[in-house]
Subunit: 252 residues, 2 copies
DNA sequence: GTCTATACCGGGATAGAC
DNA sequence: GTCTATCCCGGTATAGAC
């Protein structure tokens, strides 16, 4: 991801365009892709993956047949098999790429940010949302298709999940230690932030229909989270005061 | 759901046991189920659905074959078809039951609660979590399997989603009007609460592994949400003060 | 009411021509 | 490197015995 650019490589003005990402995938799978010329391989891989992401978003990956995929990508059945040895490998290519990208991007805050927990938290929220926006079909695919598949696929997705959750937990921990955050249970709070970020790409259609912009959403989540956890100087500690009596609603 | 109990009907101490729910499903599908005796029909339906929920949670619904389902439920291939006319109907049975139950339960707050927004919000959160806990496999199924299936199935799930979101929006609206909540954007806030509740059943395995109890989670979400939106008497309005400068992190 | 046996189709994967 | 033709399995659904 954040590797040094090779001499002669294209400047890649769009690091999250499908073609650019497929170039990186190719590097990781030189062995399973039998096509030698790099530029034709990336081009075709891009068409395949663009197609599989599109079809899967409607029908799911398993329900997407290789025949459909061949038609949609413009290749033939046999042609597909020079890019992966079986359907499951195609799944893994996408999942690992998503996981790697997320870890590389979120693990590299700009200089100075990581030292200030409040700023770091804010950066994590905004960067996460913008990354998943730029690679929306990829993240939706990873989220939706990870379950119910062979163990290795599951693990990749789950690990990625937990990795980013740990980043949040780390920031919250440091912020709480410095006294800028007031948090009772760091791990629980970290796991509550995660779904707020995932909602943006998982339910993208809903937000699009409502006309919610990403700027609005970033601001909304940031305010929501900060209101919940920022330490407030002149106020009683959370979880103690001014609550009206519990109303234990047993399920009827 | 909240119908009057028929004379002679069992007292049903467990309204969310699989058998009890399948009794209700049977009422709604007397036409497609060809087995006449009610008690044998509900018993078998329960075994079928218990099996399909279990298998689908691992492999997904589409990947679960009717052969597997027959083995797991103890019925034969042919036997299954006296309970539904095709696989898709089985899917719809489950989805509609989940949607109906959620709406019936969440739409009936105990007397006095609906009048006080703070109490109502708290009741909604706790009831939602406890309901989805009691029917966890059902809700996971509905959440996971709704996408990628024929339009009618999609609609049922989406409608259910929006219905509960509207309940939250309504409460927040009233609370804001009364001045007990300080909320900039009611609709956005309502849609942020939803994923916090869904996370409990979608990622149930994670929380189980960590030893997070439902009481802990209820308290955690309640505190988180209330800290975020409860109006604070002696404090500047949200979204204005004491934030360190924005740190607009463009995706690198 | 439930089972066994079977029809039939669409899926993934491969062989070999071009 | 890519395509066409084909194999074979496993899926849904049904027919007819018990």
């Amino acid at each position: 991801m954040t590797r040094a650019r090779q001499a002669g490589e294209a400047p890649a003005p769009e690091p999250y365009a499908t073609e650019a990402i497929c170039g990186r995938i190719l590097e990781r799978h030189r062995d399973t892709v039998s096509v030698r010329k790099a530029h034709v391989a990336t081009a075709n891989l891009a068409r395949i993956i663009e197609a599989v992401l599109r079809l899967s978003s409607r029908q799911g990956f398993h329900e997407t047949s290789l025949r459909d995929l061949a038609k949609a990508s413009g290749l033939s059945m046999g042609g597909l098999y020079s890019y992966f040895d079986n359907k499951n490998t195609l799944l893994l290519m996408i999942l690992t790429e998503v996981a790697q990208t997320a870890e590389a991007v979120l693990g590299n805050p700009p200089p100075g940010v990581a030292e200030r927990p409040a700023a770091h938290l804010r950066w994590l929220i905004e960067t996460h949302l913008r990354l998943t926006e730029a690679m929306q079909p990829w993240f939706v695919f990873a989220y939706m298709e990870a379950k119910g598949f062979p163990a290795p696929a599951r693990r990749i997705a789950t690990e990625g999940e937990l990795a980013t959750e740990r980043m949040f937990a780390g920031v919250l921990e440091r912020g709480a230690a410095e006294g800028v955050f007031a948090i009772e249970d760091v791990d629980l709070t970290a796991s509550l932030i995660k779904p707020l970020l995932q909602d943006w790409y998982v339910k993208r259609a809903k937000y699009r229909k409502r006309g919610t912009t990403i700027e609005r959403y970033v601001a909304g989540v940031t305010d929501f989270v900060e209101s919940a956890i920022l330490a407030r100087p002149a106020q009683s500690p959370p979880g103690s005061a001014d609550r009206d009596g519990r109303n234990p609603a047993a399920v009827p």
